[in-house]
Every structure is written in C-alpha cells, then in structure tokens.
Amino acid sequence: MIGLLLYLLVGIGLLVILWVLARREGAPVEGCGRQFVEARQALRTLQLGLLPENLIERIFDREDFRYVMAASPGEIGELFLQERKRISLMWVRRVRCEIRNLMQFHLGYSRLHVKLSLPTEIRLALDFTLLLLACRALRILLNARGPYGAGAVVRILTSAAGRVCAASEKSLAFLNPPALESFRHNSAGDGAAI
C-alpha cells in the first residue's frame, strides 16, 4: 500500500509540475541584466531607504511616543502607537522584499557559472529561506509586542548597513564589464559622466 501511494505520488506530482510549467508566464528574456539592475536597486534601497540611522531612530525611538503621550490625550497616543506599528511592519516587509531581490540576483548569476557548487547552492538556499522566515517571525514579534520592543535595533542595523553595502558593492562591482572600468579610469579628469 505504501508503495502504491509513493508511485501515485510521483506520477501525480509530475503531472502537477507539468501543469504549473504549462501555465507559467514567461520570465523576462533579459534575465540577468534586469536582475543586475534590481540587485543594485535593492542595495540602494537597503543602503539609503531602509537602514539609515536616522530613519530607524524615527521608527523605533520611544521619545516621539513619550512626547505624544505627554502633550495629548490617551486616544491620540493609542492612534500614534498604531501608526508606528504599521510603519514598523511596513519596514520589515520592505526589508524582506529587498532580500528577495538580492536572492533573485544571486540565482540569476549563479546559474551561468560553470563552477557552481551543489553544496554551496543548497546552503545558500537554506540561508535565504531562514532569513525570509526570520523576517516573517519579526513581523509576528512586532505585531505581538509593538514597535517599541526594539530599542537596540538602531545601533545594530546602522553598523550592519555599512557591512551590507560594502559586501554588496564588492559583489556587484566584479560583475561590471572590465572594459567599462578601464574606460572609466582613462576618462578625462574633469569628471565626464560615464
């Protein structure tokens, strides 16, 4: 009976995968080129939009909340808290989205590399999955504890932002066509834009 179920599972599973394949909409033909641009955008969004020190301070610092509570009635404070929670959740959602973009970028390039390693790819796939799950868990945590359960975020995220950007720049820079780099170095000293 178990054998029957296994064989049926394989047979029907294959038919389901084929159904998905037949219905799949075409992935962008430019593929890697587009992912390259998206990875740069993801990096910029993380660097300039989501992880700057002042932004995270604005979202997670208790001072604003204290001020509102001191200066206005309790209902306004409640409303403020709800808004901050909404913003912090939106922040996590965006971070998750940018991690997904970086993941797409990695997949877009690694598929072209002859030296691609199976264990490394499996490990990275697990890492990305765990990170995305962590974002989901963080959303649950923020939902349960509110936006002000995250006081240490500012320092950690600010320092992490620098590392992320440095690593990403390094990763993306090597993919720039060498010819363009040499052209850049040989360009006129008056800063002609390339």
Partner: protein, 253 residues
C-alpha cells in the same frame, strides 16, 4: 475500434513530426528526441503490419519492443536536460549532479524492493521494470523542472512542448502501471486506453510545439567564464550574514 483508430492516427502524427523535423531542419538539433520518435514509429508500424499478418505476432513482440522504446525514452530525458539548460552551465551542472543522485537513490531503492519480494515472476518483472524505469524518468524530469523553476529559466516552445508531452505520458504511464499492479487484470482495459490516450496527447503536444523551430531565449553572456562564482558566493554570504545579524538584533530587542 477506437484504439485501432488512435494507433493509425498516432502513426500519422509520428510521420508528420519526422517530416516537419526534416523541413524545419531541427532533426539534428533535437537528434535524440527524433531518434525516439523514429524508433516508436518503426516499432508501431512493425507491430501493426505484423499483427495484420499473424495475430500472435503482437503478443510475442510487444514487450521486447516496449523495452527498446523505454530505453529510448531515457534519451529523451537526456535531450530535455541538454536543451533546457544548455545556456546555463551552472544550472546544467547542478541538474546533472542532482539527476545522477536521483537515479542512484531510486535505483538502489528499487533493487532493494525487488530483492525483498518473494513472489518473483517473469510477467510481474516485465511490468515492474517498465514502471521502475518510468519512476526514474519521472523523478529526473521533476528534478530538472525544479531547477528550471528555482533559477527562473525561460524555456522555448520546442523544449517546453517536449517536456509537457513526454512528462504527461510518463506520469500517466506510471500511475496506470501502478494501479494495474495493484488492481490486477480487471484494470487491463483501462490501463491500455489511458496509456494510448496519454501517448496520443503527447503526440498532439509535440506536433504543435515542434511545428516550427523556436529556440530557448538566450541569457546574457556576462560572467560565464566561471571566474567570479567564488566572489559572488562570498558577496552573497556577506550580505546574508549582515542582514541576519540585524534581524537577530531586532528580534532580541
């Protein structure tokens, strides 16, 4: 009567496929696939002619010729792997490794399963061998498709048609063969009809998909020399670690 009609229609479709392959000059591009079609055509035509000459001919030759077409079916799987991932050396390498692993694990499991059986007979063994080969084909196809989905690889109409047609035939064959083993001779009629219909469906899909040459969209060639993979992995890992530590901090605070 219906099965006879489907048989003749199948022969016509196979001939049409081969003629179109010559006219569109895709015969050499998809050599293994068309070798499979030619093999099926020769076997079907031979069985049809033999059956009209002597009724016992079909029974005597069905299983031996079935094994020949089964073996050629493995060539179609190889053709699919080769064509679908040709432009993606990394993904192709991964597919090759994963397919070998799937083949080895499945083969060992099936061997172990057969060795444990007490009621071994030649009739059962022939049916089970076909079913087991279909399992391997199905799992390898599923693995390749998982890689295609994971790396978001775009397939052309020709290769997509090859996969859908062959996969549907393999999936239905596997399911019906197992049901036949489980339900016994009372499922024989249903098994024959379903197999014929699924093969006919595959022929229609192949004819439509391979009517004209439609190659896979080509990815850009940047970074294909393989020199940057380590740097890419290093960069991705560093990004992951940074973001992970940030999120860990948020979760703890």
């Amino acid at each position: 009567m219906l099965s006879l009609l489907l048989w003749l229609a199948g022969l016509l479709f196979e001939l049409l496929l081969l003629v179109r392959a010559v006219r569109t000059k895709t015969l050499t591009r998809y050599f293994y696939f068309y070798a499979y079609i030619f093999c099926i055509f020769a076997v079907s035509a031979g069985l049809y002619i033999g059956r009209s000459l002597s009724p016992s001919f079909y029974d005597a030759w069905y299983w031996p010729t079935q094994f020949a077409t089964l073996a050629m079916g493995c060539a179609v799987v190889l053709e699919i792997v080769r064509q679908a991932l040709a432009a993606y050396p990394g993904a192709e390498r991964l597919a090759r490794l994963a397919s070998c692993a799937v083949f080895a694990v499945t083969f060992c499991y099936l061997e172990w399963h057969v060795a444990r059986r007490m009621d071994w007979s030649t009739t059962n063994a022939t049916v089970e061998l076909e079913r087991d080969l279909r399992v391997i084909q199905a799992l390898v196809l599923a693995t390749v498709l998982a890689i295609v989905f994971y790396y978001r690889i775009e397939l052309g109409k020709n290769v997509k048609g090859m996969i859908v047609g062959f996969g549907a035939y393999v999936g239905v064959s596997l399911t019906t063969l197992e049901l036949r083993s489980f339900l016994g001779p009372r499922f024989n009629a249903g098994w024959g009809d379903l197999q014929t219909l699924s093969y006919f469906f595959a022929l229609i899909v192949w004819t439509a998909a391979l009517w004209s040459y439609s190659p896979n969209p080509k990815p850009p060639t940047t970074g294909r020399n393989g020199t940057g993979y380590d740097a890419l992995v290093h960069g991705t890992r560093a990004q992951l670690e940074s973001v992970r530590s940030s999120l860990r901090g948020v979760a703890r605070s």
